[in-house]
């Protein structure tokens, strides 16, 4: 069966990996023991694992993303430690290859994506005045498939070996000929499973946003975050199937000996590069656009002004989405496409700077003459604008096909995309978490710790990645596990490594902030603590599971702000309460997660017969779902009025903050 030797099943002989194995085992034991000791098994099954509530699914996405941030961050720190001095011996070249590969995959697909999809899950139905997404159980399945893929990918480094061909996994390197071990199978299969979940999320959110908006919520009255989520979902549906095919063909090449990307028998390795980036470039915007949406919400709220140039913002978002589909070749100008093709893609790439620039100016004009409140969330948005602009401008430098021959595969590129993705995504996620935390949990994150988190992370980020621009211009290549002392790179590499420690300290403060706030933060807060503008703040914090007792009616943009201003639609009379229909919980998505994980694991090891047997489970799960006619349940009026009275004080407490 397969081609793995049993003594290679567990990775042995590396003290770092041994440490990881021990800590994974201890953590798992700890979780199992903790759940048993606290008698929480039933609770976690009923309230979380089987939930179809979009808010809880969103929170699970966010928890998973924080864990993955930790894992990917450790990878980053190891790389920085390895390159902190010339000729370091901390990591072998093979180990370094594995670590930059998993760092990239995890940070993009298992950190950035779930963070943003998590926030979308929590916020979007609330912002459009809906009680859930269009397909709640499918939503749970999306999460569990993502989780299955993420876990499968993460066990690779202790069982069987990590993928080591880079997050782009270019052929022929990633093919069987040059990577004969099963390690790269993890890449193909884990991403495939997670990708199915993402595609379902895309479909779910398009239908939710198109079909479930509350009365009066026209498309051009939707909050900016909802708009970006809609456009992102569109890109997901248009781009992810390409990746699905690319990964499937990769599997065929690796598992069944076909010749799509091989050098021999007529295959084309450049075909992989094209397919990968046909998905990979839009993927950048899949994560960047919702982030822009978050900044739009945060900046408008904390400037106490309506978002400047809303319409142009919407058109710019759509424009970026369209352009994102026609720029993919700029990732491989040097691979022989020729000057004509390169020029075309240089142009399209530079064009993206136009709608992005419109957005930057809109944010600046939103703040102009606003009453800016420097909350933690707003600080992230403020820091985003200059740092992201550096990322954008260096992006235009890279976009020039001829000049790119100089920058290609150097640390200049690495610095560029970290300057895009960290301010453009991670800052946004932090801003979003500080902003929506009270909506999710009914208490705020500590603002003082938030400032420590902000400053450490920001300074650390700039000290880590700014030197990499200059290293790259001096000729330091990416993905190289070491360099000589004569190269003269040592001082900047050391500076960068020091920066990464500060960055990590910032993240540690964030984790501590979560812990501190859960334990000590004031629970007695308003449901609208920021005096915000959109509908998610028109209901309780944390949000009751049916979201709105009475669906709000929207009369203008910034609906909740206008409701507060005109003092209408804020109160609830007992006579207005009606029964609410809600979907039932289901264990099926979680079971599918387990089955997909098992099938994926067998396929990784090329054990086809067990995989075939296990995949019968997938069919059974689908049939079970088809015959499931559970139509949900109704929440009785008494229960709703009881829940509502706990957060609406005498006159409806949303009144308190009217500005």
């Amino acid at each position: 069966m397969g081609n793995i030797k049993w003594d290679e099943f567990f990775i042995t002989g590396d003290p770092l990996i041994l440490g990881a194995q021990v800590s994974i085992a201890l953590t798992m034991l700890g979780v199992l023991f903790g759940l048993t000791y606290l008698k929480k098994w039933k609770w976690i099954w009923r309230e979380w694992i089987t939930t179809v509530d979009h808010k809880r699914i969103g929170i699970m996405y966010i928890i998973a993303a924080i864990l993955m941030f930790f894992r990917g961050g450790i990878d980053g720190l190891l790389m920085k430690a390895q390159t902190s001095r010339p000729e370091m011996g901390l990591l072998s070249s093979q180990h370094y290859n594995e670590i930059f590969t998993t760092h990239g995959v995890i940070m993009i697909l298992f950190m950035a994506m779930p963070f943003l999809i998590g926030l979308m899950n929590v916020v979007i139905p609330l912002q459009i005045g809906a009680r859930d997404v269009a397909f709640p159980q499918l939503n749970a399945l999306s999460f569990w498939l993502f989780f299955s893929g993420a876990m499968l990918f993460n066990i690779s480094f202790v069982i069987g070996g990590s993928p080591d061909a880079g997050w782009t996994s270019y052929f022929p390197l990633a093919g069987k000929e040059f990577s004969p071990s099963i390690a790269n199978n993890y890449y193909a299969i884990a991403l495939q499973i997670a990708g199915i979940g993402t595609l379902m999320t895309g479909i779910n959110f398009i239908v939710t946003i198109l079909k479930m908006r509350t009365k009066g919520m026209t498309l051009m009255r939707m909050p900016m975050f909802t708009w970006t989520a809609l456009v992102t979902s569109g890109i997901i549906v248009a781009a992810f199937p390409i990746f699905t095919v690319a990964l499937a063909l990769m599997k065929f090449d690796r598992l069944f000996g076909t010749h799509f990307f091989t050098v021999s028998s007529g295959g084309s390795d450049m075909l992989w590069a094209n397919l990968f980036w046909l998905w990979g470039h839009p993927e950048v915007y899949i994560v960047a656009l919702p982030a822009f949406g978050i900044f739009s919400e945060v900046i408008a709220t904390f400037s106490r002004k309506q978002l400047f140039g809303y319409k142009s913002m919407v058109y710019a978002t759509v424009g970026i989405a369209l352009l994102s589909m026609v720029v993919w070749v700029h990732h491989f100008y040097t691979m022989g496409s020729g000057p004509g093709v390169n020029s075309f893609f240089s142009l399209t790439t530079m064009l993206i700077a136009v709608p992005t620039g419109i957005k930057i100016f809109n944010w600046l004009f939103t703040m102009r003459k606003g009453r800016i409140k420097l909350s933690s969330a707003m600080l992230w948005a403020l820091a985003f604008i200059p740092t992201f602009t550096i990322g954008g401008v260096t992006g235009v430098m890279l976009a020039m096909g001829a000049a790119d021959f100089q920058y290609h595969n150097t640390l200049f590129l690495v610095a560029h995309f970290h300057y895009v993705l960290i301010p453009g995504v991670v800052f946004a996620v932090f801003a979003g978490l500080y902003y929506w935390w009270p909506k999710m949990f009914g208490h705020m994150l500590n603002e003082r710790l938030g400032k420590w988190h902000f400053w450490l992370f920001n300074i650390g980020f700039n000290v880590t990645f700014m030197p990499m621009f200059f290293l790259g211009l001096n000729g330091a290549v990416r993905r190289s596990y070491t360099y000589s002392a004569e190269s003269g790179f040592a001082p900047l590499f050391l500076l960068s490594a020091i920066g990464s420690v500060i960055l990590a300290a910032g993240f540690a403060v964030f984790c501590y902030n979560i812990y501190w706030s859960i334990r000590y933060a004031d629970r007695n807060i308003s449901s609208d603590p920021w005096d915000a503008r959109t509908l998610e703040w028109a209901t309780a914090s944390p949000v009751q599971h049916y979201n709105f007792a009475k669906l709000p009616e929207v009369k203008s943009f910034d609906a909740f702000w206008q409701m507060k201003k005109n003092n209408e639609g804020l109160t609830l009379k007992d006579s207005e309460i009606e029964e609410i229909h809600m979907p039932s919980n289901s264990g099926q998505p979680f079971m599918m997660c387990v089955i997909f994980g098992v099938v994926g694991f067998f396929l990784v090891f090329e054990w086809f017969i067990p995989a075939a047997i296990a995949s019968v489970g997938i069919i059974v799960g689908l049939i079970y779902r088809s015959f499931d006619y559970n139509d949900g349940y109704h929440i009785p009026v008494e229960e709703i009025s009881k829940t509502e009275s706990t957060w609406r004080n005498e006159k409806g407490e949303v009144h308190k903050h009217v500005g």
């Binding site: 269009a134 239908v207 992810f240 799509f260 084309s268 229909h581 949900g632």
Partner: protein, 201 residues
């Protein structure tokens, strides 16, 4: 949600949840179009890379393929008749036409599998050349979709027999109809760009 039933619409469109399901499925078909478009693009890149192995003219059995095409196109027509009977509230007619549709689909599948076996006996396997890799995966993906469609339709027919024509079963039938027609459209492209174009070199 199950509320707000609009009885002026066809059965499958009457509830809000059904309307959302149908829209969601259309979007899913959009994703399927991208999926097949990618496979066609791969085929377009690799279709002349014979690597010394058999070419189109060496292997294609155009007569059998012609019959497959007729079977599948007819099944699309009978599927349309099934939906027509559903609109007329004729459950018996609906089930009959669905069963005929599936039999035609199974006939198509049977012939396709035979065709593949024949190719493999002639030494034209997935591993032979890039052309054959892309050929088998493109056609195999379509065939796998047809297989899945048959299994899925059987499950829904069982529900139809058990529950009769309700807004939910009607919606499920309607969605399978969309899926079935989609597979037909994909086949037309395969027939044109793989078989016919392959025959003329």
């Amino acid at each position: 949600m199950s509320a707000n039933v609009n009885t002026s619409l066809p059965l499958e469109y009457q509830t809000h949840q059904s309307r959302m399901n149908i829209l969601g499925f259309w979007i899913f078909l959009g994703a399927e179009i991208v999926l097949f478009a990618t496979l066609f693009a791969v085929y377009a890149v690799l279709y002349q890379n014979y690597a010394g192995g058999p070419t189109h003219q060496d292997i294609i059995m155009i007569k059998e393929v012609m019959i497959q095409t007729l079977l599948l196109l007819t099944s699309s027509f009978t599927c349309g008749l099934a939906i027509y009977e559903m609109r007329r509230n004729n459950v018996k007619g609906l089930i009959s036409w669905l069963v005929i549709t599936l039999l035609l689909g199974a006939g198509f599948l049977f012939m396709e599998i035979n065709e593949f076996i024949h190719y493999i006996h002639e030494g034209a396997t997935m591993q032979t050349s890039a052309f054959l890799s892309s050929f088998f995966v493109l056609l195999g993906t379509h065939g796998a979709h047809v297989t899945l469609g048959i299994g899925w339709a059987i499950i829904v027919i069982i529900q139809l027999i058990k529950r009769g024509l309700t807004p939910v079963t009607a919606r499920k039938i309607f969605i399978i109809g969309l899926y079935w027609h989609f597979l037909d459209v994909v086949w037309i492209f395969i027939f044109t760009f793989v078989y016919l174009k392959g025959m003329v070199g």
